[in-house]
C-alpha cells in the first residue's frame, strides 16, 4: 500500500503538516477567534448607533448634558469626570490582569493570586459604577415634555439654565387618576403616571413668564434651539402631549428614543461582558489558589481569560469615545 502514500513535496515546510504554523495553542487561538467574532458584534452595534446618530444628526442629545453626575456632588455640573473615572478603573484592572499573566509566566503563584484578586475587584467596582450611571440615566434630572411628532421639549429659564418639571408644574391643575386593573374591562393596569400631568406643566409654564422652551434641534453653533416666549407657548399648546421623566426603551427626556435604546443596549451588552468576565476571573482565581496551574506548571488559562478581560477593556475604549466624547 505504499504506493498510495502521496508525497506533496511540502514536508518540513511551515504548512506541510505535523506542525503548529501559528505557534499558538488551540485554546488560545480559539479565544482569539472568539474575540474577533465578538468584536464584529460590538462593531455592528456601534455602527448601528452611528447610523441612527447620522440619521438624527441635528437632534441628537449632547453627551455632556446627559452624563454630568458625580457621586456626592449633587447639582454640580460634572461632565465626563465620572465616565473618565470608570475608564481608569477598567484600564487599571487590565493592567493588574496583565501583571497576573506576567507573574504566571514565572510560575509565581502568590503574585498571580494577588493580581487576579485586584482584577476582580476592579471589575466589580466598574460594574457598580455602571449601575449608578444607569440609575442616573433612568431617573433623569429635569424631565421634559414630548410632542405628537415624538420630539422632546425641554425647559429653561431666562439665563439659559435647565428647569426641572418640579419647579414648573402647578399641582392640581388636572385630576388624572392612575388606571388600575380593578377598574378596567380588561383588568390591565397602566404604567405609573409621571409625577406631573401635561396639563399641570402647561399651566405652570403659562403662569411663569420667565420660562422658555428648548427644542432638540441643533442650530449652526451646535447648540440646542431656544424658542421665544410666544413660540414656546404656541408650541407647548399645540404639540405637547405627554410628560417624560428619565429614560425607558420607549421615551427619554434627552432626545430621540433611539438614543436611550442604544445606551441601554450597548452599555448593557458591554456590562454583561464585564459581568461574565468577572465570573470567569473568579473561577480562574480559585483554580490558582487551589494550585491547579501550579501542578500543571503552566498558567496559560490565566492568559486566556486575560485575553477576554483585555478585550472587554478594548471595547470600553470605543464605547467611551462614541457615547461620551464624539
Amino acid at each position: 500500500m505504499e504506493a498510495t502514500v502521496v508525497r506533496t513535496g511540502t514536508e518540513g515546510k511551515t504548512w506541510g503538516g505535523g506542525n503548529e504554523p501559528l505557534k499558538s495553542s488551540y485554546g488560545k487561538m480559539m479565544m482569539w477567534f472568539f474575540i474577533v467574532s465578538d468584536a464584529l458584534t460590538f462593531s455592528a452595534f456601534l455602527a448601528a448607533y452611528g447610523f441612527s446618530r447620522f440619521k438624527f444628526m441635528d437632534s441628537w442629545p449632547i453627551a455632556d448634558e446627559v452624563f454630568n453626575h458625580f457621586p456626592f456632588l449633587h447639582g454640580v455640573d460634572a461632565p465626563m469626570y465620572y465616565v473618565a473615572l470608570m475608564t481608569f478603573i477598567l484600564i487599571f484592572s487590565s493592567v493588574t490582569m496583565v501583571l497576573a499573566v506576567d507573574a504566571g509566566h514565572q510560575l509565581n503563584k502568590a503574585k498571580v493570586t494577588f493580581y487576579m484578586f485586584l482584577t476582580i475587584i476592579g471589575g466589580v467596582i466598574f460594574l457598580g459604577s455602571q449601575a449608578w450611571e444607569w440609575k442616573n440615566f433612568i431617573n433623569g434630572t429635569y424631565g421634559a415634555v414630548y410632542t405628537t411628532g415624538g420630539n422632546v421639549l425641554q425647559f429653561i429659564d431666562g439665563d439659559g439654565h435647565r428647569v426641572a418639571l418640579a419647579d414648573i408644574a402647578v399641582p392640581g391643575a388636572s385630576d388624572r387618576v392612575e388606571h388600575e386593573a380593578k377598574n378596567g374591562i380588561w383588568f390591565e393596569a397602566e404604567k405609573a403616571l409621571p409625577s406631573y400631568s401635561i396639563e399641570e406643566v402647561k399651566a405652570g409654564f403659562a403662569a411663569n413668564p420667565d420660562l422658555l422652551i428648548r427644542t432638540q434641534i441643533m442650530n449652526e453653533e451646535g447648540e440646542k434651539t431656544i424658542l421665544s416666549r410666544e413660540e414656546s407657548l404656541a408650541k407647548l399648546d399645540s404639540e405637547a402631549i405627554g410628560v417624560v421623566e428619565g429614560a425607558n426603551l420607549t421615551r427619554n427626556e434627552y432626545g430621540p428614543p433611539l438614543f436611550g435604546d442604544f445606551f441601554f443596549f450597548i452599555t448593557g451588552f458591554h456590562g454583561f461582558h464585564v459581568f461574565t468576565g468577572v465570573l470567569i476571573n473568579i473561577i480562574i482565581f480559585f483554580n490558582v489558589i487551589l494550585g491547579t496551574y501550579e501542578r500543571r506548571k503552566n498558567y496559560e488559562m490565566v492568559e486566556k481569560v486575560g485575553l477576554y478581560w483585555h478585550f472587554v477593556d478594548l471595547v470600553w475604549v470605543f464605547v467611551f469615545t462614541f457615547f461620551y466624547l464624539v
Binding site: 455602527a47 447620522f54 440619521k55 441635528d58 484600564i91 506576567d102 498558567y299 492568559e303 470605543f318
Partner: protein, 120 residues
C-alpha cells in the same frame, strides 16, 4: 506563551507600566479636550466631521493598538495569527461603518428636504 518557554520567561513589568502611563495620558487628553471643546477644533471640519472628533477617534485607535499589542500580546504572536485577527476585523468593520454611515446621512437628508413631513 505555552510553548514550554515558561521556565525562563523575562518579566515585562516595566513595559506594562509604561503602557499604562501612555493609556492614562491619552485618556486624560481625551477628557480634557472633551470638557474644553476648543472652538478651533469643533469649528474646523475635515471630511464632514469636526477635527475634534477625528482627534478622539485617532486617539481611541492609538489606545486600542496598545491594548491589543501589549496587553493582549499580539506583538509576540506570529505574523499569520496577527494578520488573521487584525485584518479580518479591520476590513469588515471599515466596510460596515462606511456603508451604514453613508446610509444614515442619506436618510438625514431625506428627512430634512423631502416633501414628506416626519415631524407632524
Amino acid at each position: 506563551m505555552a510553548h514550554g518557554t515558561a521556565h525562563h520567561h523575562e518579566s515585562n513589568t516595566k513595559r506594562i507600566w509604561t503602557v499604562f502611563v501612555i493609556l492614562s495620558i491619552v485618556t486624560l487628553i481625551e477628557v480634557v479636550l472633551g470638557i474644553l471643546k476648543p472652538e478651533f477644533l469643533t469649528d474646523t471640519s475635515f471630511l464632514s466631521m469636526s477635527l475634534l472628533n477625528w482627534i478622539f477617534i485617532i486617539l481611541t485607535i492609538y489606545k486600542a493598538y496598545y491594548i491589543a499589542w501589549s496587553f493582549m500580546h499580539l506583538e509576540g504572536e506570529t505574523k499569520g495569527l496577527r494578520r488573521a485577527i487584525v485584518w479580518t476585523a479591520v476590513f469588515l468593520i471599515s466596510y460596515l461603518i462606511f456603508i451604514l454611515l453613508t446610509e444614515g446621512d442619506y436618510i438625514y437628508e431625506v428627512f430634512k428636504s423631502n416633501h414628506v413631513a416626519w415631524d407632524f
